[in-house]
């Protein structure tokens, strides 16, 4: 009998051990570290709330990174997700030929990985002879030559990665290419579950396409939509590899490509201040927790 009582504990022991050692202990350590300044893990000094004080009152890079990520998130929310939904609706139509092929084409970029995307877009955005700049320059130059009163200022010759204001558009374009098909798949799955009966009933009742979209499709895909929005928000806040490789570890000119996680990485693993990095990490965690709560509230059917 004694063995039977022990058995459940033995079964959960492997998981519990790993969970305690690799999740709970580091988590508690990071709480303690957030109140310290360190030089790598060797030297540490207790500094109280100084890390948070620095974070909120002095650290310009952190607030630049927050602003950057808000812009990037807005790009994801208002450009990428509507485009993904539009694509999903298009590829959900029965009259589109080779739908499977197109779905694969749009989904394919997610398979290649962020590092590859960063390298490819680095070449595309290359100053002076990158293909995007060549196209923009050629096209706007042609317009300038042939269209009367076309302003000279609209002839683009963009140093994408070296010009502060173009770093974020470059990132948004690269991530659009990568993630639009990925998000499209979620929307596509949701659209295939929209009740045909309801749609037909709305049509019989005289609802036009736009009304059907607003009053039938959107409510039906709302749970998935909210989930995709949350995924995009979390992905945006956690953004690291793409700007690190495409723009540069320091966030490029004016730190316009710097994200909070890149800043955390630089503080913790380049400068060795794991304490300050922990403070940044906890702030990001609190923000994400808040976002998740809002999402839960929005997704709760009771709020309809």
């Amino acid at each position: 009998m004694k063995g039977h009582k022990l058995a459940p504990y033995l079964f959960v022991a492997p998981f519990l051990t790993l969970f305690l050692v690799f999740i709970v202990y580091p988590l508690l350590q990071s709480v303690a570290l957030a109140f310290m300044q360190t030089n790598g893990p060797i030297s540490r000094e207790f500094v109280g709330l100084s890390n948070f004080d620095w974070l909120f009152s002095v650290d310009r890079d952190f607030w630049t990174s927050i602003l950057n990520i808000l812009i990037y998130t807005a790009g994801s929310m208002f450009i990428q997700l509507p485009a993904a939904l539009g694509l999903a609706m298009l590829l959900n139509r029965q009259d589109v030929k080779a739908r499977g092929f197109w779905r694969m084409i749009f989904f394919a970029p997610i398979l290649v990985g962020l590092v590859f995307v960063a390298i490819i877009f680095g070449l595309l955005f290359a100053p002076n002879n990158g293909i995007i700049n060549l196209f923009l320059n050629g096209f706007t130059g042609w317009l300038n030559a042939w269209v009367p009163f076309y302003p000279d200022a609209w002839v683009f010759d963009i140093e994408f990665r070296w010009t502060a204001e173009y770093a974020m558009p470059a990132l948004i374009i690269a991530s659009f290419w990568m993630y639009v098909g990925f998000n499209m798949i979620y929307f596509l799955a949701a659209l295939q579950n929209v009740s045909k009966d309801l749609m037909e009933a709305a049509e019989v009742d005289g609802a036009g396409p736009w009304q059907r979209f607003l009053n039938v499709t959107i409510p039906a895909i709302r749970p998935v939509g909210t989930f995709v929005v949350l995924l995009s928000l979390i992905g945006s806040v956690q953004l690291f590899e793409l700007p690190y490789l495409l723009i540069g570890p320091d966030g490029g000119p004016g730190q316009k490509g710097l994200t909070p996680v890149m800043h955390l990485f630089a503080e913790g693993f380049d400068k060795g201040d794991l304490g300050y990095a922990s403070a940044i990490g906890w702030l990001i965690a609190v923000v994400l927790f808040g976002v998740a709560l809002v999402q839960k509230k929005l997704a709760d059917p009771g709020t309809e």
Partner: protein
């Protein structure tokens, strides 16, 4: 493969059984025989395909076989010491030297064999930091690049993971044989943590076929950067007649902080002086910053961004869309390897000075060889040190260094050796070694201050702000930009100082009176 036969001695009836959905032993009707699988195993023995699909079994088989192969493969037993480098050209150069060293060790039985590994730059840096911080295994000798050295000296001196070589260098008389500015980059709080690999003087490379043959410019008339901007403006060209400039005189971009630092050091500025005083807001820096923006924008623009180690940048050079580039000795080696098409079309000249009679060179890049403290604890220091001296101080290595990578050795006594002074076909027959050596003693001393990168980041931020200021007002001449450049650099310096004040470890050392000034010979890097 057909459906599995029905169980012979199954305890369950073979006719359809309607069980509740929640039952774990729910049985599908016989018209769907594939769903019988859980029960069949209970009857007539275990069938592999009842447990997992064929695909899953293949995956398991591959996993098992590959694991066995990996475990069975013998791990090469490499006796001796380990040496990490990050640079492809270094690795290529060191390989035969290591082999020679190892042959000598095997023949004489003295010393330790050396195993050379080339690691990717970031991987080497990260593994080294991990080794110092967390005690993970490290090589016995590690090459560190100048841009990342600060990461190893951010804390108290006793936390620095490399062996302090200062006394050893003095005791063995090595210190005096080395070019003084080469040591400053690896000196922190007066202590030297690595053997310098190089000097890295910077010259100006120009397309002789364009400048001399096509444009007929006499480069000896160019003494200052103002001369350069005036004379070389003739190299600007619109190839396709669209009214837009396609060829610019200089490869440079205003917010490339590495290039900015080269110019600031040449002008007598930089981030920290030899006494570790912050000089971000110096007048020299302000003038360089204003000039940099004036070079890249406005009517008198002379620069184009043609980055190194970049396919796009290299194409611009090959296409003749950029005429001149600031070229440290190591970059000359890279161009020879990566841009052989330019061989015979390039020439070198000293950098234009910031004022008449001023310094005609600067410095960029650099590598040191350090020995981790763990090597001392393992009792291997003597052997590691012997190899370090062989690799960095031997004449045969200096020769290889120059012939394979175009790098000048910091050992001054070798500078008169013939191999440095032979005509170089890549540089149109000029003796490139001579040109670099002529400038080597005048290379400005550099700081290895832990906040150097913070300072250069702030300078980069100031550069972007100055560009915005220029754009907003439509003014791009140096004199108009200077006041704003001064203001922005003062702001940048304040930011760096705030960060420095926050660092409790450096404050503790200062309070303890341990912060010595860098033991550097600034005079040696004085202007020419």
């Amino acid at each position: 493969m057909g459906p599995p036969p029905g169980p012979i001695d199954s305890p369950f009836p073979s006719e359809p059984v309607h069980k509740p959905r929640s039952s774990a032993l729910a049985v599908s009707p016989p018209d769907d025989p594939k769903k019988h699988t859980p029960l069949s195993a209970a009857g007539s023995g275990w069938r592999p395909l009842d447990t997992m699909s064929l695909g899953s079994w293949i995956i398991v088989a591959i996993a098992v076989v590959s694991s066995v192969i990996v475990l069975a493969l013998p791990v090469p037993d490499r006796p001796g010491l380990e040496f990490w480098t990050f640079a492809r050209n270094h690795s290529k150069m060191y390989a035969p030297l290591s082999e020679r060293w190892n042959r000598r060790v095997e023949e004489t039985g003295e010393g330790e064999l050396m195993n050379l590994y080339q690691l990717e730059f970031t991987a080497l840096e990260r593994r080294t930091l991990n080794g110092f911080w967390a005690g993970t295994p490290l090589a016995d000798l590690i090459e560190i690049e100048g841009g990342s050295f600060y990461k190893f000296v951010t804390g108290p001196l006793e936390d620095v993971g490399f062996v302090d070589l200062t006394d050893l260098l003095h005791d063995e008389g090595i210190y005096e044989t080395l070019n003084a500015p080469s040591l400053t980059a690896w000196t922190n709080r007066g202590r030297v943590f690595g053997l310098p690999h190089d000097v890295h003087p910077v010259l100006l490379a120009y397309r002789a076929d364009i400048v001399e043959d096509e444009l007929g410019i006499d480069v000896s008339t160019i003494q200052t950067w103002d001369d350069f901007a005036r004379v070389m403006s003739a190299a600007k060209a619109d190839f396709d007649g669209d009214g837009r400039i396609d060829r610019y005189p200089l490869s440079f971009w205003f917010n490339d902080v590495g290039a900015l630092e080269v110019l600031m050091l040449q002008a007598g500025g930089g981030t920290f002086d030899a006494d570790d005083n912050i000089i971000v807001a110096s007048e020299a820096n302000a003038r360089v910053l204003a000039t940099a923006v004036s070079w890249c924008f406005g009517e008198d623009r002379i620069a184009i961004d043609a980055p190194e180690f970049d396919a796009g940048g290299n194409q611009l050079k090959l296409d003749g869309r950029v005429v001149c580039a600031m070229m440290p000795d190591w970059l000359a080696g890279i161009w020879k390897s990566d841009l052989p098409q330019l061989g015979g079309k390039i020439k070198l000249m000293p950098l234009p000075a910031w004022e008449p009679g001023g310094r005609r060179t600067s410095v960029r890049g650099g590598t040191m060889l350090g020995i981790p403290r763990a090597t001392v604890e393992a009792g291997e220091f003597e052997d590691a040190w012997a190899f370090a001296k062989y690799l960095y101080l031997a004449e045969e290595v200096a020769r290889e260094l120059f012939l394979t990578a175009n790098i000048i050795s910091p050992v001054k006594s070798y500078w008169d050796r013939p191999f440095y002074h032979e005509p170089d076909p890549y540089f149109s027959g000029q003796p490139s070694g001579t040109l670099y050596i002529d400038q080597a003693p005048h290379v400005p001393p550099r700081t290895s201050h832990p906040f150097r990168v913070v300072a250069t980041t702030e300078i980069g931020r100031a550069a972007n702000s100055l560009r915005n200021y220029a754009d907003a007002r439509g003014v791009y001449d140096v004199e108009s930009l200077l006041p704003e450049a001064r203001r922005l650099l003062a702001e940048a310096q304040e930011q760096v100082l705030k960060r420095m004040e926050r660092n409790v470890f450096l404050q503790i050392e200062t309070a303890g009176g341990e912060t010595d000034n860098a033991d550097t010979d600034a005079d040696a890097g004085g202007s020419s």
